[in-house]
Every structure is written in C-alpha cells, then in structure tokens.
Symmetry: C2
Subunit: 405 residues, 2 copies
C-alpha cells in the first residue's frame, strides 16, 4: 500500500512510519515539524537525542534499503498544497497524527488555546475536504482519545464509540445508536471531540472510510525498528507539558526527585505501549470500514491504572519517594475507568504490560540518558482555570520541591 503518515515526525508517528515501511508499504511523511518548533518555544528537548527527520530517513534507507519520503507541509494552513499532494500521490491510506496533542500545552494561555483549536480543527477538516474534492477513496485512520468522554462520568464501561439510547416518540420508544456522548476536560481533548463530528459528517455525506482510534496514554520508547540504530531512536518527552505522567515519574525517579502526584492520585487512566500502538495501527489498516458505513471506532489501550498506583509501581522499582501536590487540572479527584477493548484483542493484539515493560524504560531510557535531564522542566505549570493557575505558581510545597536536588 501507499500510505501517507501525517505527523510522521512525532512520537507515535515515527515508529509507525518505520513499522509500516518494514512491512513493505511505501510510506510518505507529511509534517510541518511544528512539534520541534514547540520544543524550541518551551526550551525543552527530547530526553533521547533526536536527529532531524531528513537524517532519520537517510539512516533508515542505509540500513534497510527502504525509502521514506518526507514532505514539509502544514495541513492546517496549506489546503491547496495538501490537495495537490493527494492528487499527485493518490495514497491508499492516510494515518492522521498531525495535531497538537498535549492537554497542558493547550491550557497554557489564550494563545495556546487558540492555536490548538485552529490547528487541530483545520488540519482534520482540510484533510477530509481535500479527499472529497480530489475524489480519493483513501482509508483515513485518525488518532483520537478516550479523554473526549471526560473522566468524571458515572463509572460506566467506555464502549467502542457508540451508545444505544431509547428516544420517546409519538409512536412509543425507538432505539437509536448515537456517538457516545463526550465531555472533554481540556482544550486538547475538546478538539478530538470536534474531530468526531467532522468524521461523522464526512462518512455520512461523502462516504469517506474513516477509523478513529481512541488511544490511551502511550508509554515506552523503543520498537523493534527504532532499536536498530542510535539515530533512529524515538523521542521521549518528560517536561510538564508534553511528558505524560509515566514519563515524568521515570525521570523524577532517575534524578532522585520525589514522584509528584497531583491531588490524591486517584485519577485512573488507560495505557498502551508504543509497540502495541504501532501494531494496532497495522491491524486497523487491515480492517477498513466499507464506504457509507458509520465511522469505525476502536479503543486503543491495553490496561488501566490509578496514578498513585503507577507512582507506587515506579517507586518500588527505583526506590523513589512519592509526593502529593495540588492538582492544576479541573477534574474529578478520583474516578473509575473501565474500557472495552475487545475489538483489537479479537484482531490478534498481544499486549506488553506495564509490569513486564517498565524496567526496560527505567534502565534503557531514564538511567541511560539521565545526564540530559533538565530538572527545571519537570514540574507541570499549566493551570486549567485562572484560579488553578494562580495556585500552581504560588504553591509553597511546589516551590520547595522545585529546589530539591
């Protein structure tokens, strides 16, 4: 297949690109490299030393003889170039990773909110409109998140995208299937909720074939391919904006900093290893919905954990201490999370569990690259509201923790 990977320079996009190239597909990366620019804006960098995308593609070719094609393109701002690219290359499938994906970054300031909404909505909508206009029947695989549902709901198991409801009509109750109702808890998550409406419309009106993968928090760094050469290594974010909770704990443990749990740590989240994530994308590509069908939605996760249990797990492996801080997010302090993921399991996914894979991260990543850690970047500083933002900055315990060494 000829596959376009939008956002193929990113944390999930890059190993996906290598995995699909390894399987023999012709892979094109379209990326505007905005994520690298955000690194520059924030003054942070990947813990793992990451080469330019051009250099990474060159190394892959040297090692495997396979070519990756990189195209510098802003999906959100260059509609005409995107359309021309599609018409010229006519991909069989398009995998869409190209969005601003950090919830804390999306809540940093009004400028970051506006950027996240404009970038993500336009990127997704431009892609869909360009496919329709160019008449290309590519299967669109999008990376979404279960976070669209919010985490404060009634504790019902999260189904794979849809809910059956009964509606009162003059002729009695009628059953109807609806998109599972969303209640996103950050601007970032909100954009994924907007994406769902775009997908529903384009599948219904134009028969686009769309799969939306509601992914959990991706952890882990290496895949079989990124391991093949130092210069193919994947990025590893640990800063307060892009570092997910697990990565930040790993880094805190490596530098002898307490693991900072927000609130009671009773928040439950869903997780998936990067190796399983790229495999899920392979599986989703192999099972496109038919044209005219509803959007296919998979939950792409393999296990759930409470944040405080994660902290304990890492403390157990590393000897780190755990510290509890005020929560900068507006969210329920404790939540249950039951997620249905029968679809991927039935397609043959064999998960890497946290229990089995965490030690590799501690040793091969956190300890190995410890010398590159900038400890001032670890705290999370984006508050969800004006009041929460103020409390984060003023928090005396936070101040104290920042000076622990």
């Amino acid at each position: 297949m000829k596959i376009a990977v939008l956002g193929g320079d990113g944390f999930v996009g890059w190993p996906t690109t290598l995995h699909l190239s390894d399987l023999g597909h012709e892979v094109h990366i379209l990326d505007n490299l905005s994520r690298r620019w955000i690194d520059t804006e924030l003054g942070v960098q990947s813990l793992t030393p990451m080469d330019s995308i051009q250099e990474r593609c060159r190394i892959w070719h040297e090692l495997t003889g396979r070519r990756l094609h990189f195209h510098l393109l802003d999906l959100a701002k260059e509609f005409e170039r995107l359309k021309a690219w599609l018409v010229e290359h006519r991909p069989d499938a398009v995998i869409h990773f190209a969005e601003q994906r950090a919830a804390p970054y999306s809540m940093k300031s009004d400028r970051h909110k506006v950027y996240t909404v404009d970038n993500n909505v336009s990127a997704t909508h431009n892609l869909l409109a360009a496919l329709v206009e160019s008449g290309i029947d590519a299967h669109v695989v999008h990376l979404g998140t279960m976070g669209v549902y919010g985490y404060s709901s009634v504790g019902a198991p999260i189904p794979e995208g849809y809910l059956d409801v009964e509606i009162d009509t003059p002729d009695g109750k009628k059953a109807q299937e609806i998109l599972y109702p969303t209640r996103p808890g950050s601007i970032y998550h909100m954009t994924k909720s907007l994406d769902q409406i775009l997908f529903q419309f384009y599948a219904q009106n134009d028969g686009l074939r769309i799969t939306d993968l509601h992914q959990g928090i991706v952890w882990g760094t290496h895949t079989e391919q990124t391991r093949m050469h130092d210069q193919l290594i994947n990025r590893f974010d640990y800063d307060g904006d892009y570092g997910t909770v697990l990565n930040r704990f790993l880094i805190q443990a490596a530098i002898g900093y307490p693991l900072t749990v927000h609130g009671t740590g009773g928040q439950t989240r869903a997780f998936i290893h990067i190796r399983d994530s790229v495999r899920c994308i392979e599986l989703a590509l192999a099972s496109p919905p038919a044209a005219g069908d509803r959007v296919e939605i998979f939950n792409q996760m393999t296990e759930t954990h409470r944040v405080r249990d994660l902290a304990e797990m890492i403390a157990g492996l590393t000897g780190a201490k755990v510290a509890y801080l005020p929560n900068p997010r507006k969210e329920a302090p404790e939540n249950d999370l039951i997620v249905e993921n029968a679809k991927f399991l039935s397609l043959g996914l064999e998960p890497t569990t946290l229990q089995a894979g965490l030690l590799e991260e501690v040793v091969e990543i956190a300890r190995k690259y410890k010398h590159r850690i900038d400890r001032s970047r670890v705290p999370a500083v984006s508050g969800w509201t004006r009041d929460l933002a103020a409390s984060v900055e003023r928090d005396p315990e936070g101040k104290r923790l920042k000076s622990v060494s």
Copy 2:
C-alpha cells in the same frame, strides 16, 4: 446594559441592534462585513436597497438621538484586537451572530467548506477564549440552529437541548443528561454542532454564562424599528445560496416563475418571524443562566411547515404555479418535525404566524422591489455531493425552468 452585537450588520443582527437600542441599551456592532463581500463574490444583492452600516447608524441617530457604535473587526482572525476591545469596553452581554450561515454556500466547493469551518469555529472559540482571558463575565447569547440534529431522525419531538439517557454501569443503570445528539446535514450545520461542544467546555471549565438559541428559519423583513425609515430597511436575500425557501418562493411568485420545490417537498422545517426573533433575544438576555450552570438552550421557533405546504400557501396568495425539481441536498425526502418551544412561550413570546404575516411580505417586499430581482440568481445550484452537484447542473427540467420568463 452595554451589549456587543457580533455580526450586527447581518439579516438578524441589524434589527436586533435596533430593537435593543430602542430599549435603551448601549449597543456596539462588531462585524467584518464579510457578508457584504460574499454578495460581491456571488454577484447578488439584497432585494431591499441596503445602505452601508455607517450610514444606517447615522440615520438611526438622526431619527432617535441614540448612538450605535460600529467596529470593523474579524472575530475569527483578529484575536488580539477582539480581546483588547473586550477589555476596553467590558460589555454586560455579547450576542453572537457572526458566522457564515448559508448551508448551500457552505457546500459550494472545497474552498467554501474550508472557509465556513475555519471562520465559524475560530469566531466562536476566539470569543470564548478572549472572555476567559480578559476575565469578563458577559452573558453570551449565540444563534444556533435545530438543524444540528439533522431532519431524518426517528420523529421524536426535539427537546430544548438535552436528552436524559440511561447508562449501564457495574452498579446498574444510571441516569445521565447529555446534549441532545447531533447529526448535522451540511457543513454549515456541522459548525453549529461544533459550537455546542465549545460552549459545553467553556461553561464547565470556566463558568462562562452561555445561552444557545436553536433558531428556525427566520422569515419576514420589517420590525418596528426597520420600518421607521427607508434607509433602515433590513436585507432580504433571495438567491440560491442565502435565500431561504420562503423568500425564494416569494420572489418566484413575484416574477411569475414557478415555485421550485426540491424533491417531494416533504421536508418539514421550523420557522420564526424576524419580529419574534428579536423579541426572543430580548427575552433570553433577561434570563441568563448562573455561572457554573450548564449551557441554557432554547428552541427559537414558532411553527413548522412542510415545504410543499408553504409553496401551496404562497401559490394560494399569488396565483403562482408549483414545480417539482430534483433535490440537490442529501437528506430524507420526507420528515416529521415536532419542536418543543415551551420556554419562550412561557417567557411571554406572542408569535406572528405565517398565515397572518405572509401577505405583508408579498405586497410590501416582493412586489414593491420586484424591479430589483435578478431572475438568474434564483435557482439553487450547490450540490451536497459530487454526484448531486452533477445532477443539478445537468437537470433538463431545471434548464427549462431557467429560461421561463
């Protein structure tokens, strides 16, 4: 109150501005005049001769001694200026009309789809983000549409915004209130569905006070204030893009053209007279939700009619013939529509019915300005999909009709 009317140069915005000014409020219009530019793009103009916004404001001042303040500002593209304006003026309420509002225009081409999504999402989101950032607790009144629900549903009465559902949980069924599920049928309607998610988020996260008015098709031209002077007259659109079904029938009747019904004319739509529309806005302003509450949603309509019944009603008044054409829209050929509108009625709305008000439109508008009608602009030419677009252009009956004189 100090009130900002975003989109105050438009069809509903202008009479609303006058109505609120008449009630003694200090009214500021913010508008980028994009609607006038679209007239230029399409080569169409309001049937009623419409002056510049500056001139209209001058006349109003001359007549009444009241000042209207006009600010040329693009909500979608000038975030910083919008924020600065809010900080300087600190309005008590903001009425948000400023979106691209024609479904056929939104489906014209990929460029029009992209414009509609980018303009409408950014306009709404910029407003919300700017209010939060500037800490202004203005009541936001937005004009939405029941069209977000699609018209092919199970025939259930459309409630005022919310639906109670039961969700299976490990502890048995639990009741939950959700936004009534949307299934928009055009890009334009889709943007209103996106707006709902933005409102839900900002009400929940930041405590913004938001009222979303799900408005039916607005008909009629005069309000008490626009009648006061020739140069205060409201716009009247009759072209295939912006002219709503009723206006187009009125114009067809005036020039002895058959009333062109799409499909079987079995589509049922909701209607409201412009006088009732401005009154509803006054009522909504007087009943803001409390901060921290959910978004207040009203259905702003007073009656429903099938398109073919409307045609018959106007044929009865004018002697026009009715012609049936292929439908360029992808929609159910026949639908029922029951709409709950108890909230506005209970607040004291006294509707102007079609039966009572139509003749005024026939005589005072359509016949009076007949000499300004460009008959080539009456047919609707935007197809909802590539196939439908092709059928519209090729349709032999349509061709014949275009040459009727």
